[in-house]
Every structure is written in C-alpha cells, then in structure tokens.
C-alpha cells in the first residue's frame, strides 16, 4: 500500500513515565494500519532490555501529583506535597514513588511497558537501537530483547525522511 502513513519516534528517555509514550503511540499507530519505527538512543536504550527496570523520580518532576494508590476515595485524592529536601534525599523515595505509580496504573487498567512493547513487536513495529550510545554506555546486544535492529543516525533518517509523523520523546 503506497498511502500507508509512517510514524518515526526517537525514544531518548528511559524512566517509567517517559518510557510509556513511545510504545503507546507506536502500538496504536500499527493498530491504525500505519508503519512505525522507534529509534532508541541515550537513556531510551534501557527500554530494550529483557527486563525493564524503569523508575520514576518525583524530585525531577515537580508537577507530578503524589497520590496514594490505596485507601478510600478521599484519601486517594489527596495530593501530597513532599518537600524537595525529602524527595531528593530520602533513600528509597524513587522506588516508593515507582511502586505507587505502577500500582495506580494497574488499578486503572493501563498496560505495563513490557506488554505494550511486545504488542508493538507483534504488530510489526521496528525497533532500532543506537549503536553509538550502546558503545558509550556499555550495552551488549545480549542484554536486549530479540528482534532489535542496530544502526545510527543515518539509519533512522533514511526512514524518517519519508515519515508523515516524526516525534522526539
């Protein structure tokens, strides 16, 4: 089909929050009969690891609502104002926030990143890992899931030159 729309995404962030959009958009594009490619570079590369260990850091996201995933409705709706001196210094704070975000996502029926990633692959979304940043950060192909292509800026741009939608995330 010559009129197939093409989506090109650069995934440059690997935290739990920023890890979602590339996989959500690419899987949905494929479900809408579009072609999709995600180019993983810099901190986006860990999203290709067999087991994703993505965390979220409230300290670097001042606008992030801090809400509890348990308790009654009124308790859940409280937006806890955590001072930066605590969120930035308390050991385990990011792990706790990550656990709470994952629990909230689960309760709201949101897919996990791993689920969305495998649906992308099932729908034929192409994943390209940036060879240069792999060398810089010391990633090995064995650490990544199967079906990943490897390339650089030119590999991505060759595809993106004909893309209808290009996003840097």
């Amino acid at each position: 089909m010559s009129d197939t729309k093409k989506l090109a995404i650069i995934a440059s962030q690997g935290t739990l929050d920023w890890g979602y959009p590339p996989f959500i958009l690419a899987s949905t594009a494929a479900a809408m009969d579009m072609e999709a490619v995600i180019f993983f570079t810099f901190y986006g590369l860990p999203l290709l690891k067999k087991e994703i260990d993505a965390k979220v850091s409230p300290h670097s996201n001042p606008a992030m609502p801090m809400k509890m995933p348990f308790g009654n409705k009124d308790f859940k709706s409280i937006n806890w104002q955590i001072p930066n001196v605590i969120s930035g210094n308390m050991p385990g704070f990011d792990s706790m926030a990550t656990m709470m975000m994952k629990e909230t996502f689960k309760q709201k029926g949101v897919a996990t990143i791993e689920q969305l990633r495998s649906m992308c692959q099932e729908f034929g979304v192409r994943f390209i890992a940036c060879q240069m940043t792999m060398e810089v950060f010391g990633f090995e192909k064995e650490e990544f899931i199967d079906g990943v292509e490897y390339g650089g800026a030119a590999t991505f741009l060759e595809y993106a030159a004909d893309a209808d939608i290009s996003l840097f995330i």
Binding site: I24, S27, T28, A30, A31, M32, D33, M34, K108, G109, V110, A111, L116, M119, F123
Partner: protein, 78 residues
C-alpha cells in the same frame, strides 16, 4: 436498541488507553470481511478513539451505545 448480531465478542471493560484499541485491532484481524465484532469498554476515551480508529482503518463503526458507563461498539470489518 435491539441486540445486533455479532460474529465475535470482545470485553475491554476495566482496560485503559490504548488497550481497547490494540485488542480491537487483534480481534478484527481474526475476522473475515463483512463480519461484525462487538466490543465493550468502560474507558470514556474509547468513544472518540474508536471513531478515530475506524476512520483511519476503514472498518465501519456500525453502532455505539452506552448503558451505565459501559460503551458497546459494533464494528464491521472492511
């Protein structure tokens, strides 16, 4: 509305974006042209999303009803 006949039923209740769309796509792929998929969802965003998805893919959104926050869609495969 009287009950429409469907060839397959898909329950996406409790699931959030983009899962209802992704599961609908998988279900539609397993049907033959002209067959009808019945999908139910509780995600309020699925109303606009299903219309957009149908627009883009060319499958026909034959009917949409809502009853106590459950949306029911009938989609005819192109």
């Amino acid at each position: 509305m009287s009950e429409m006949v469907s060839n397959m039923e898909l329950n996406c209740e409790g699931l959030n974006c983009p899962l209802p769309i992704l599961k609908t796509k998988k279900a539609i792929d397993s049907l033959n042209s002209g067959e009808i998929l019945k999908m139910t969802a509780t995600d309020p965003g699925s109303v606009n999303d299903m219309a957009s998805w149908a627009n883009r893919t060319g499958h026909e959104l034959v009917a949409h009803t809502e009853e106590s926050s459950v949306h029911t869609f009938f989609i005819k495969k192109k």
